[in-house]
C-alpha cells in the first residue's frame, strides 16, 4: 500500500514543526503541546497492540489445544469402542460357555455324572424320610440338545483369544482365558486368592484395564 508507516509520518511532522517554529512562533502556538500527547499515545498504542497480540496468541493457543483435544477425543472414542467390542465378544463367549448344554458337556469331559436321589431327614422326628443313593458311573447326561452356535465362530472366538493373550494379567490375562476354554480341574480354591490380588494392583480395583494412550 502507498500509505506511510505512522512512525515516519510523525517524525516528518516533527521536523517540519521544528523548522517553522523559528519563523512563525506566534502563528502556531498550539502545536507545542502535541509532542507530549503523542508520546502518551505511543505507549497506549503499543499497549493496545500488545494486548491484541497476546489475545490473538491466546485464542490461537486455545484453538490449537481444542483441535488437538478433538483428535485425542476421536482416538479415545475409537479405543473405547474397540474395548466395548472386545468386552462384548468376551461376554458372549462367557454366556455361551454358561449355557446349560455347554456346562453339561464340560461336566462330562471332567468325568461328572448325574446325581442320584438325595437323602432327606426329618429333623423333628429324627427319621430318615428317604435314603440317598450312590450316583452311578453310567448316569451320564444325555446330549440331545445341541450346543449353542456362535453366529460367526471363527472371527469372534479367534480374535478375542489373540487379544486376551496380549492383554495384561487379570481378567483379560492368558490365565483367565485358560479357565474359560479349558475347564478348571476344581483346584481353584488356593489359586483364586492370588489372582484377585494381582488383578487388583494391575486394574486399580476395576475389571477393565486402563486405556493405553501412548499410541
Amino acid at each position: 500500500m502507498s500509505v506511510l508507516p505512522a512512525e515516519e509520518l510523525r517524525t516528518a511532522d516533527r521536523t517540519e514543526g521544528q523548522g517553522s517554529q523559528r519563523g512563525r512562533a506566534k502563528a502556531q502556538p498550539a502545536l507545542q503541546a502535541l509532542p507530549t500527547v503523542r508520546r502518551r499515545q505511543r505507549g497506549l498504542i503499543a499497549g493496545v497492540l500488545l494486548l491484541l497480540l497476546s489475545a490473538l496468541g491466546a485464542v490461537l493457543a486455545v484453538n490449537i489445544h481444542v483441535a488437538n483435544s478433538q483428535y485425542q477425543v476421536v482416538q479415545l472414542t475409537n479405543q473405547h469402542r474397540d474395548l466395548v467390542h472386545q468386552n462384548q465378544a468376551l461376554a458372549q463367549q462367557v454366556q455361551f460357555l454358561e449355557s446349560p448344554q455347554s456346562l453339561s458337556n464340560s461336566a462330562v469331559t471332567v468325568g461328572m455324572v448325574m446325581p442320584a436321589t438325595a437323602g432327606t431327614f426329618d429333623l423333628h422326628s429324627r427319621e430318615i424320610v428317604s435314603s440317598a443313593e450312590e450316583a452311578s458311573n453310567s448316569q451320564v447326561p444325555s446330549n440331545f440338545v445341541g450346543a449353542p452356535g456362535y453366529s460367526q465362530p471363527e472371527t469372534a472366538a479367534a480374535d478375542v483369544a489373540e487379544q486376551a493373550e496380549a492383554a495384561p494379567s487379570g481378567v483379560l490375562g492368558a490365565g483367565a482365558l485358560h479357565t474359560l476354554t479349558e475347564t478348571p480341574a476344581g483346584e481353584n480354591g488356593a489359586g483364586s486368592q492370588e489372582t484377585v490380588t494381582r488383578a487388583g494392583s494391575a486394574l486399580n480395583g476395576g475389571t477393565i484395564p486402563a486405556p493405553d494412550v501412548t499410541e
Partner: protein, 591 residues
C-alpha cells in the same frame, strides 16, 4: 509533494473502500441472502447425520440369565457415485499407489467372504447412492473394511441378536429375520424390545474428520425394554433332554414336557415348555418347520383319559357323586345302543368312584358322567378352557374345538366324558390340572414375567385369577389323583418322600386323511400333594409300537424329582389320603 501524495492516497483509499463495499455486498449476497442456496448446500454437504440405533432389549429367564441379547454389528454399504480410483500411501515404495475399483472390489470380497462379482456390482451400480455390500458383519471385519479407506464405502451400525442358550427354549424365545422378528417372544414382545433410535448430526471436513467447533447435535437413542420370562433355563434344558430321550425311545413324531409353578404368588407361571426337538434361534432354517414354534400351543389332539378329570370334577362340583360312592363296573357297557369298552377285559368290579378314576375305566366314567346332562358337561368343558383359544403371552393361539351338544353324534355324549371327540393343546390340558391343584382357581398360564425398563423399573405382567371349582372339589380331585399314582395306572410316578398325584391319558390321533392312525399319550402330575408346588405334563405324539407298550411316568419322575430338588421343595409330612379303589377289604383285583 505531500498534497499530491495525500490526494492519491485518498483516491486509492476510496477505490479500495469501494471495492471492499462491493466485495462485502457480494459476500452478504451470497452468504447472507443466499439466493442460489450455495451456502446451504455447502453446510448440508458438510453435515453428516448418523442414526444412533437403539439397543434391542434382552430376553432373560426367571433367574435373569440371558436368553437373547444384542451385539454391535455393522452393515457395509457403498455410495457408487463416490466410488472411484484412489491412492494409498505404500510404505514399502514410499510412494502413493493407485487403487482401481476392481482392486477395491477384490479386497472387499476377500474380507467380507463374498463373491467378487457381487461386490463389484454393488460398487458400480448406476444412478443409486446406496447399495448394501454386506449385512451384519462383526466389529473385527468392519475394522478391516474401514482400514482400506476406500472412498464411498461406509458402514452403518446395526444390532445383531445373539442367543447364548442356543436351542434351550429356542421356540419360546423365537428369532429375528432380516425384515424383523418372526417368531416367539421376539415377535410377541417386539414393541417392548424395540427402542426409539436416536440421531447425531455434525459437520465433517473434506478429509472426513469432524470439524471441532461446528454444529453438533445429538438426540440419544431410547433403548428397548428387557423381557423377563417365567422360564427356568436350567430346568428347561433338563426337560428338553428328558423329553427328547423319551421321544427317541418310542420313535415318536414329537414330545412335549411342560412344568408349571403352583407356588403361592407365582401360580400359572410356565417354568418349562420343552419340545423333543427345538429350533436354535441363531439358525432357524436348520430345524424342521414343526419344531420352530412351541408344540404345546401349535399341536392340538384329543386329550384322552386326562379329560376324565373334567367329568369327575363336574360331578363332584354338582354334588351328584362323592369319591366313595359305589358302582358296579363292567368291562362292556351299552348306552343308547352304543357299546363302550375298557382297555383290557375284566370281570364286573364293585368299585368306588375313586377306583374308577385310578384305573381309568371308561365304562365307570360313563356311569358317573351320565348323572349330569350333556349341556352341563359341555358347560364345564368350556369353563375349564376348552373350545376357546389359549394364549400364554406368545402371540400364538392354542386351538381347541368342542362341538356343542346339539351337534354331537350318537357316541359323543359318552366319548366326551373320557376325553375323546374334542381337541385341545397341551396348554389346555395343563390349565385344567393347574386349577384342580390350586383350590379350583384358574390362574391363566403365562410365560412373560415382567418387562424391565433400561433404568431397572419393572412392569410385572398381571393375571386375573378366576374361581372355577370349589376348594372342596379341588381337594377331592387331588385325592383321586393320588390314587392313580398309589395303586392306579401311573404307579411309576411315585417319588420317595413326596405325595404325588396325576392322571394318565391315551387317545387315538386323528389322521390327515380322516379316521385315526397312531396315538397321543400323556401324563399330568402334581407334587407334593399336601401343598401342590409344581405340575409336570408329559405328552408324546404318535409313538411307535402297540397300545399298552408305553409309559411316560419315568420321564415325569425324572423331571418332577429334578424340579423338587432344584427348588428345595420340602418332602411331604402327611400320609397318603387316597381313597380305596374297591369295595371291601380286597384291593388287588387284576387289571
Amino acid at each position: 509533494m505531500a498534497r499530491t501524495l495525500s490526494l492519491r492516497m485518498r483516491i486509492g483509499l476510496a477505490i479500495v473502500l469501494a471495492m471492499l463495499v462491493v466485495l462485502g455486498g457480494r459476500l452478504f449476497h451470497i452468504q447472507g441472502l443466499d439466493p442460489a442456496g450455495h451456502a446451504q448446500d455447502a453446510v448440508s454437504n458438510r453435515l453428516h447425520t448418523v442414526e444412533l440405533p437403539a439397543a434391542r432389549g434382552n430376553i432373560l429367564d426367571s433367574q435373569n440369565r440371558l436368553m437373547a441379547s444384542s451385539a454391535d454389528h455393522y452393515d457395509i454399504v457403498a455410495d457408487p457415485r463416490l466410488i472411484g480410483e484412489y491412492t494409498v500411501a505404500d510404505e514399502a515404495l514410499g510412494l502413493q499407489r493407485p487403487v482401481t475399483i476392481e482392486q477395491t472390489a477384490q479386497e472387499l470380497a476377500t474380507i467380507l467372504d463374498r463373491e467378487y462379482s457381487e461386490v463389484l456390482e454393488a460398487l458400480t451400480a448406476e444412478e443409486i447412492h446406496y447399495s448394501v455390500i454386506a449385512r451384519s458383519v462383526t466389529p473385527e471385519v468392519h475394522q478391516q473394511v474401514m482400514a482400506l479407506r476406500a472412498p464411498g464405502v461406509y458402514s452403518e451400525p446395526v444390532s445383531e441378536r445373539t442367543y447364548p442358550a442356543g436351542s434351550v427354549a429356542g421356540s419360546v424365545v423365537g428369532f429375528v429375520g432380516s425384515d424383523g422378528p418372526l417368531e416367539g417372544i421376539e415377535r410377541a414382545q417386539d414393541e417392548a424390545l424395540t427402542g426409539e433410535p436416536g440421531e447425531r448430526i455434525y459437520e465433517v471436513g473434506a478429509d472426513g474428520v469432524r470439524i471441532p467447533t461446528a454444529t453438533y447435535e445429538e438426540t440419544p437413542a431410547q433403548d428397548g425394554q428387557d423381557v423377563r420370562l417365567t422360564i427356568d433355563q436350567d430346568l428347561q434344558w433338563f426337560a428338553q433332554e428328558a423329553i427328547a430321550a423319551k421321544a427317541n425311545e418310542y420313535n415318536a413324531q414329537w414330545g412335549n414336557a411342560t412344568v408349571v409353578d403352583l407356588r403361592e404368588g407365582s401360580e400359572g407361571e410356565i417354568l418349562t415348555m420343552a419340545d423333543s426337538e427345538t429350533v436354535d434361534p441363531a439358525d432357524p432354517a436348520a430345524t424342521d418347520e414343526l419344531f420352530r414354534r412351541p408344540l404345546a400351543l401349535t399341536q392340538s389332539f384329543e386329550p384322552g383319559s386326562t379329560g376324565k378329570s373334567v367329568t369327575f370334577a363336574a360331578a363332584l362340583e354338582e354334588g351328584v357323586v362323592s369319591p366313595e360312592d359305589q358302582f358296579t363296573v363292567p368291562f362292556r357297557l351299552t348306552v343308547d345302543g352304543e357299546t363302550f369298552r375298557n382297555a383290557r377285559s375284566h370281570a364286573d368290579y364293585q368299585m368306588t368312584a375313586a377306583g374308577i378314576y385310578a384305573r381309568s375305566y371308561n365304562t365307570g366314567t360313563i356311569l358317573i358322567g351320565n348323572q349330569l346332562d350333556d349341556q352341563t358337561r359341555y358347560d364345564y368343558l368350556r369353563k375349564v378352557g376348552y373350545d376357546a383359544p389359549i394364549d400364554i403371552g406368545l402371540g400364538i393361539d392354542g386351538e381347541s374345538y368342542v362341538r356343542p351338544p346339539e351337534e354331537w353324534d350318537r357316541r359323543q355324549p359318552m366319548t366326551t366324558q373320557f376325553g375323546q371327540g374334542y381337541e385341545g393343546t397341551v396348554m389346555h390340558n395343563v390349565q385344567l390340572y393347574q386349577m384342580l391343584a390350586t383350590d379350583g382357581v384358574k390362574h391363566p398360564l403365562r410365560i412373560v414375567d415382567a418387562t424391565i425398563d433400561p433404568d431397572g423399573t419393572e412392569h410385572p405382567v398381571a393375571s386375573e385369577p378366576e374361581q372355577v371349582f370349589s376348594p372342596e372339589t379341588s381337594e377331592e380331585m387331588l385325592k383321586l389323583m393320588e390314587g392313580v399314582v398309589e395303586y392306579g395306572s401311573a404307579q411309576g410316578a411315585q417319588i420317595e418322600g413326596y405325595r404325588v398325584g396325576g392322571k394318565t391319558g391315551t387317545a387315538e390321533a386323528a389322521s390327515q386323511t380322516g379316521g385315526f392312525d397312531g396315538y397321543t399319550i400323556n401324563f399330568v402330575g402334581v407334587a407334593p400333594l399336601d401343598d401342590p408346588q409344581f405340575l409336570v405334563s408329559v405328552t408324546v405324539h404318535r409313538p411307535a409300537g402297540q397300545f399298552g407298550d408305553w409309559d411316560l411316568t419315568d420321564t415325569f419322575n425324572d423331571i418332577m424329582t429334578h424340579t423338587l430338588t432344584s427348588y428345595d421343595a420340602a418332602p411331604s409330612e402327611e400320609e397318603s389320603e387316597a381313597y380305596d379303589g374297591f369295595v371291601g377289604e380286597r384291593q388287588d383285583y387284576p387289571w
